[in-house]
Symmetry: C2
Subunit: 375 residues, 2 copies
Amino acid sequence: MKTDRIGSFLFLAVLLGACSGGEAPAMAEAGGDQATTTDQGEGPAIRAQAAALFKIVPAEPPKLPHNELTEEKVELGKMLYFEPRLSSSWLISCNTCHNLSLGGIDLMETSIGHGWQKGPRNAPTVLNAVYNLAQFWDGRAVDLAEQAKGPVQASVEMASDPERVVQTLRSIPEYRERFAKSFPGETEPVTFDNMALAIEAFEATLVTPGSPFDRWLAGDDAAMTAIQVKGLETFVSKGCTGCHAGVNFGGQGYFAFGVVQAPSDEIRPPEDKGRFAVTSTAVDEYVFKSPSLRNIELTAPYFHSGKVWSLAEAVSIMSSAQLGAVLTPEEVSAITVFLGALTGNQPEVEYPLLPPHTADTPLPDVSVPSAAAPH
Amino acid sequence: MKTDRIGSFLFLAVLLGACSGGEAPAMAEAGGDQATTTDQGEGPAIRAQAAALFKIVPAEPPKLPHNELTEEKVELGKMLYFEPRLSSSWLISCNTCHNLSLGGIDLMETSIGHGWQKGPRNAPTVLNAVYNLAQFWDGRAVDLAEQAKGPVQASVEMASDPERVVQTLRSIPEYRERFAKSFPGETEPVTFDNMALAIEAFEATLVTPGSPFDRWLAGDDAAMTAIQVKGLETFVSKGCTGCHAGVNFGGQGYFAFGVVQAPSDEIRPPEDKGRFAVTSTAVDEYVFKSPSLRNIELTAPYFHSGKVWSLAEAVSIMSSAQLGAVLTPEEVSAITVFLGALTGNQPEVEYPLLPPHTADTPLPDVSVPSAAAPH
């Protein structure tokens, strides 16, 4: 009987395309745990717990109270997201460090920007970032629009400034038209603020619904393997949800990194005190916004220092630093495999064609201030 | 009667979407030249001349004798084209310098690569490059596959090597599968040569049919403005076609830059002797493959040195350096406007999702040899 039900789930999963080849062996090996997913008619007990802690990523992007996601604005935002001429060198775009081919990040310890300079922190993914309570590791930007203005101006990133950006965009007729359509009724629609709003509008569409976990939470038992359900149970029972819950499995609050035990200086460099730089409050030393764990298997290396490449190692470090718990290798492995179930459908993006510059466009400047030597 | 015929052509052009808003004023201003386009029942005399000199870019990519363009291989090639992990830093892909958002180039004087190092020559466009007789400014690569291997290994570009690339690609299961499907029957399909063949297959699809000139050559009189036809006539009568003819308006032969008069040392740096480096033959000093003029209005700055940002200025320099002719400002302007008619439909590209690395993938190395200082 139990076997029959598992068989039906597998059959349904194949029909729905829900079972990936890579997961099948794990499911077979962990056959003894199947009871967990089939204990009750309404679904497993852990599902009710999970439903109280997490939310499914909606298929549609959220509505933003301050920024309507019109088709024109989202399309303009996409162009600006891929627009290297927002940087002074014409070489670096938002997509350079938040690459939509690669889970919305750059796979760097910390990003490399203008002049091959190394930035101070690991680039967080843009995917589902709209669901974070604030942006940057220290939450210093209230939303994606405010965030978008940061890297454009940072000397180690795009090394431009609002004046140059506006001059650039106004010099290109197609951008003038597109800003006018995206911000109708404004006397001068091409502004630095509107650039940021358009980018935010596009970024708000970069959500990843349809993860195995979300399908499982919606009632599809076969969407996660038994070992993944086991990993979820461990994730919940060990208290990981203290910082990683909600729709984004994180991104909803600020927490000290090293609540129980300070990580090594390599992983938590002493000079980066996190949110303390924003609030100047002693209690915020080494406090960071908890990162989202959505698509986490795609977004190595981990932590704000980017010093850890292995997800299993990151899970281990978290358990000792945050929970003071020593997890068994099996528990670490189960949580790690479960985190793989948080990878959703990646956004499908038609690569934009960018309009040509004109004689009025400020030309690229790849020069690097002499103080900013490469490493 | 003549007016009626022009009216009919315009009407047809509007129906076909052949008339762009931007061109209408030029046509109106140059109304006196309309006779040029309507002299004969079979089309203008210049069309017969043009048909003997040039060819329309076919809508379908060409067949390559050595490399079948299968769907699997083209898709794999697209992924590799956008794959930054072909570089040692994981930051630079083919698309970095041949950006498909920007006419297949990087809008740089000369490209910036690994460690923010500046390359020696301006990056030629990848668009329609399959129609060139050879690749690179000096023709040192016989085809796009051979070309693709160059930048991957160049220390100032992607700074990797075949061993690292193969190790990287073999470490990623999805790439192993895709290479096996793209090169069926091969015992070890993941090789550096096959990487290059896949990239070539994708690049061969990057053609730009449908330019105003091509539509005009096919019989649509309204596809070019009168001033553009005038520019074409000047282009032909002044002898520009000596180096810029065929399907690509260039790319079909090697020619001395400065046949009549050497350009300034800034535009033709004395240390770069062009094809001489390939053949070691004195007659090849300052000889280069003539670049294609397709999409030329998108691909500033111009010449192998990338020192000239204005297309009109480039036309002027060419006339004195190559033809020994002093063109009037009107002639320069007409040729420049005509060259704008060589911009075709840009390739539509779905931005690829790249598969995650594994524990076996060599990690990124952004370090720069100390000799290679930035500038």
